[in-house]
Amino acid sequence: MKIRHRLIMFRRIVKAGLLNFIRNAWLGLAAIAVMVITLTIILFSIIANSTFTYTITQITDKIDISVYLKDDVTAKKRDQLIDDLKNLDSIREVNYVSKDEALEKYKEQNQGNLDLLLAISQTDNPLPASLQIKPQDPNNIEPIKQYLEQKDIQALQSDETSYSGDRKTAIDKITSATSFIGQAGAVSVLVFAFISMLIIFNTIQMAIFNRRSEITIMRLLGASTSYIRGPFIVESVIYGIVSGVISIFIVHTLFSISARAFGASSLGILDIEFANRYFADNFWKFLGLQLGVGILIGSISALIATRRYLKFKTSK
């Protein structure tokens, strides 16, 4: 009996919320508009962030490979390794840099730093000899990696294979720049989400303010708090759902237009093709996220906005 009663009440609350949504469509429009903007910006920030990260990986992958050799590797073994590497289909070029050459290069690079030069001249050249490998296809260095990671080849190496070479500094700069962009993006998303929550809250509160007499009447007739509040929350949840769907539709449309306009090209650090694919691959996840955030913002706003009209008089 109790479950049946609850079911009846729940059905009525949902129905009332739906009716309210239809009857107050114009009032809800403002709330939906603000929510759509917020959700769209949040989604864009997420995709942009992932695209930056992807671009970084791409650049990192595109660079030369350095294999550092132990000092005790014999010339014979070294030449054998070079020959073997050259025979690999995935390698275009292998250059040997001896210990002396490495030292020269190091001194050149650190010309201004006298302390460092002094220190290194007093030691027995600590720099290893290395092999500079240029892959055939920068996007496909996996076979080379696999080859270099074999046990007997690893035994010849003094340090871990470097996949960055002399572009390391450039990559580091880009990485720190993107992580800054990512952090700034996250902060601005949070700030914007907060501001729009205030606006959404105000809009919903205005819609509820217009119907405060209704709430008072329901109160006087003996309706419980949840029975009065329920329809307002259902209504706001519908705002959230509608906004979530609209925002994902907007993002989808923008991506398909931009993909058609720019083709597979990249806009600076933004790889449109990747962004588009990333969006398509995670479509359902994003839809869920948009709906979730929309529903959450809507229902919390309605919950707070109805509070004051539901209070009983306490003054004597």
């Binding site: 009846i8 309210n20 009857r23 009447i217 329901m218 007739l221 003996g222 309706a223 029975y227 004597k316």
Partner: protein, 226 residues
């Protein structure tokens, strides 16, 4: 059933709406409260529905002491009381049928029973055929009758009617009074406030006269001369 013990209500320091009102209403009684506007009639009703809290004094209705009443219990109290508000307080976005049905919906009455009960009650108040009208399409008298239908549809133990004949011509006014008497015969305590001398004097019921926030007279079969 209903007990007010030395109830005083002040809305602010200078104005005193009620002063030390004490009254007792038995179950199944039919009580008429009369008095000029501003005398404090509506304040009594507002105190009974716990719309307002008394400044001092004790109120007990149906065994519930208002002083210890928790917020959660207020809706439960109000469900026991049917109220015909002076300004009707109908829900503007609901049809006549929905307005009356609402009183049943909030207490969880099933749809079948609502579909069965509401038309019967609308018939009693003479609104048959106007179920689908919106409040804005109705005349003052019709609105009043919707309010009455809503108040009686739950068959409450207490019915409070604040000037329910105010907007009605004599014929309809008497129709409404007959409905109240009928409800009373079925066992509901009725508290009626009115200005209408003719009705008061013909009914020959208990009449409580309020003047300047005090009980001026309380007679078992009273009359009213303003």
């Amino acid at each position: 059933m209903i007990l007010l013990d030395r109830v005083t209500k002040k809305y602010n320091k200078n104005s005193q709406a009620l002063e030390r009102i004490s009254l007792h209403v038995e179950p199944k009684e039919f009580v008429i409260i009369v008095g000029a506007s501003g005398a404090g009639k509506s304040t009594i009703l507002k105190l009974l529905t716990r719309e307002e809290k008394p400044t001092t004094g004790k109120i007990i209705v149906g065994g519930l002491d208002y002083e210890t009443l928790k917020d959660k219990e207020i809706p439960i109290l109000r469900r026991k009381i049917g109220v015909v508000f002076q300004d009707f307080k109908l829900l503007p976005n609901k049809t006549v049928f929905e307005n009356v049905a609402f009183a049943l919906e909030i207490v969880g009455v099933g749809n079948k029973e609502i579909a069965h009960t509401v038309p019967r009650v609308l018939d009693i108040v003479g609104l048959k055929g106007k179920e689908k009208r919106m409040p804005r399409e109705l005349s003052g008298g019709e609105l009043q009758r919707v309010a009455i239908a809503r108040a009686i549809v739950r068959q409450p133990r207490i019915l409070i009617a604040d000037e329910p004949t105010g907007n009605l011509d004599p014929k309809h006014a008497w129709d409404v009074i007959r409905v109240l008497e009928k409800i009373n015969r079925y066992g509901t305590t009725v508290i009626l406030t009115t200005h209408n001398q003719e009705i008061v004097n013909k009914l020959k019921r208990r009449v409580i006269t309020i003047r300047d926030g005090r009980i001026a007279s309380d007679k078992a079969s009273g009359e009213y001369h303003s």
